[in-house]
């Protein structure tokens, strides 16, 4: 995805200059390597702050909820699907948006890279030609292949190109077709209930209830989240395993039929919980029961807010 940065800067600068948008939302280089930050730009001369590489893992759709101004925004496949979900859920109007589409070849799993360099501190990161990248630190330098360090959601992604855009920064990339998207979910489904309980209890055992997964998720835009409410208090605020499990279960259910598997939740988890294991099963069910993948079309209502005579359940017909 080399060369995208220049193109994004050029487009954003022009849009702001011409007054087509009031703000431009993109990423800028973070203060530490491999962590790009979201940035909101208001003046064309600041467009040079914008940046794109394989570390743009957060979902920018988070920043457009209920905005009233005109917005320019960069959007890869999953981000564009979240934007569609936002429009369908009346959180923003299509007319307010100028979407700069990014054909995406996947983001890098910073944890896997960290492990690959023996947990030494990475001080420099550079994207290279031929889908490779270089990491440098005190006494080491390593060149690695993107494809071997893709984030788990990017590795099984089948919507790399944006589904909605006003302008693309490059030609569309080839979509992956031979991925087994739900292999891990099938393994969990095959477990007996005791094993399954043990599995989910163990993956959340290190949860510190920081709610980073919720905060990073573009779907979590309720003015007051159920976990923050105190009257009534739906869920205890402790890290008692029951409270933690309740939080994760409900968080996942609130994403049913809406999740685009952007992986922002997993990216931001400070303790490395595979949070997507909760939402993935719901995505799989949505696909098999309702032939639904979230955020692909502006014209279709999500399965959970329509009644269809061909519903798979008998009782509702």
């Amino acid at each position: 995805m080399q060369g995208y940065t220049d193109k994004i800067r050029e487009i954003a600068g022009k849009l702001l200059e011409e007054g087509k948008v009031d703000v431009f939302i993109g990423y800028k280089e973070g203060s530490v390597p491999m962590v790009n930050e979201p940035v909101i730009i208001r003046e064309s001369k600041k467009a040079d702050l914008l940046f794109w590489d394989v570390n743009c893992s957060l979902n920018l759709c988070n920043y457009i909820t209920k905005r009233t101004d005109n917005i320019g925004i960069v959007a890869s496949g999953c981000n564009s699907r979240s934007i569609v979900t936002h429009i369908v859920e009346n959180q923003i109007k299509r007319g307010q948006l100028y979407i700069v589409g990014i054909p995406c070849t996947g983001m890098i799993d910073h944890r896997a890279v960290q492990t690959a360099v023996g947990d030494k501190e990475i001080l420099e990161f550079e994207e290279l030609e031929g889908d490779k990248f270089k990491v440098k630190g005190e006494g080491f330098e390593k060149t690695l292949q993107n494809s071997e360090f893709l984030r788990s959601n990017c590795a099984v992604c089948t919507h790399r190109n944006p589904v909605i855009y006003d302008e693309m920064v490059a030609e569309p990339v080839e979509e992956q077709s031979d991925v087994e998207a739900y292999k891990d979910v099938e393994e969990i489904e095959a477990m007996d209930p005791d094993k399954r309980w043990e599995f989910f209890s163990s993956i959340i055992s290190s949860c510190i209830r920081c709610y980073a997964c919720r905060n990073a998720c573009p779907l979590c835009y309720c003015p007051v989240c159920f976990v923050d409410e105190s009257r009534p208090q739906w869920v205890g605020k402790s890290i008692d395993p029951t409270d933690t499990m309740t939080f994760h279960l409900l968080r996942a259910y609130h994403c049913a039929g809406r999740c685009t598997d952007c992986g922002a939740c997993e990216r931001v988890c400070p303790v490395g919980i595979p949070v997507r294991q909760f939402t993935k099963k719901l995505n799989k069910d949505m696909e098999s029961l309702f032939s639904w993948e979230a955020g692909l079309s502006l014209d279709q209502r999500p399965p959970l807010d329509v009644y269809r005579p061909d519903d798979y359940n008998d009782f509702i017909r």
Partner: protein
């Protein structure tokens, strides 16, 4: 998720179907009772050390 089988049940009852509601409630209560005390999703009392 691994919630004990039988403890979680779904039914569709219209507000006009009082009889059906009673029937379903009795049935579910009976089945859950037969399963005995719940083992998961139970919050113990805080331990005082």
């Amino acid at each position: 998720m691994g919630i004990e089988p039988g403890r979680l049940q779904f039914s569709w009852v219209s507000s006009a179907e009082a009889g059906k509601f009673v029937e379903v409630a009795r049935e579910v209560a009976g089945e859950v009772e037969a399963l005995g005390p719940v083992k998961r999703f139970v919050k113990g009392r805080a331990e005082v050390v």
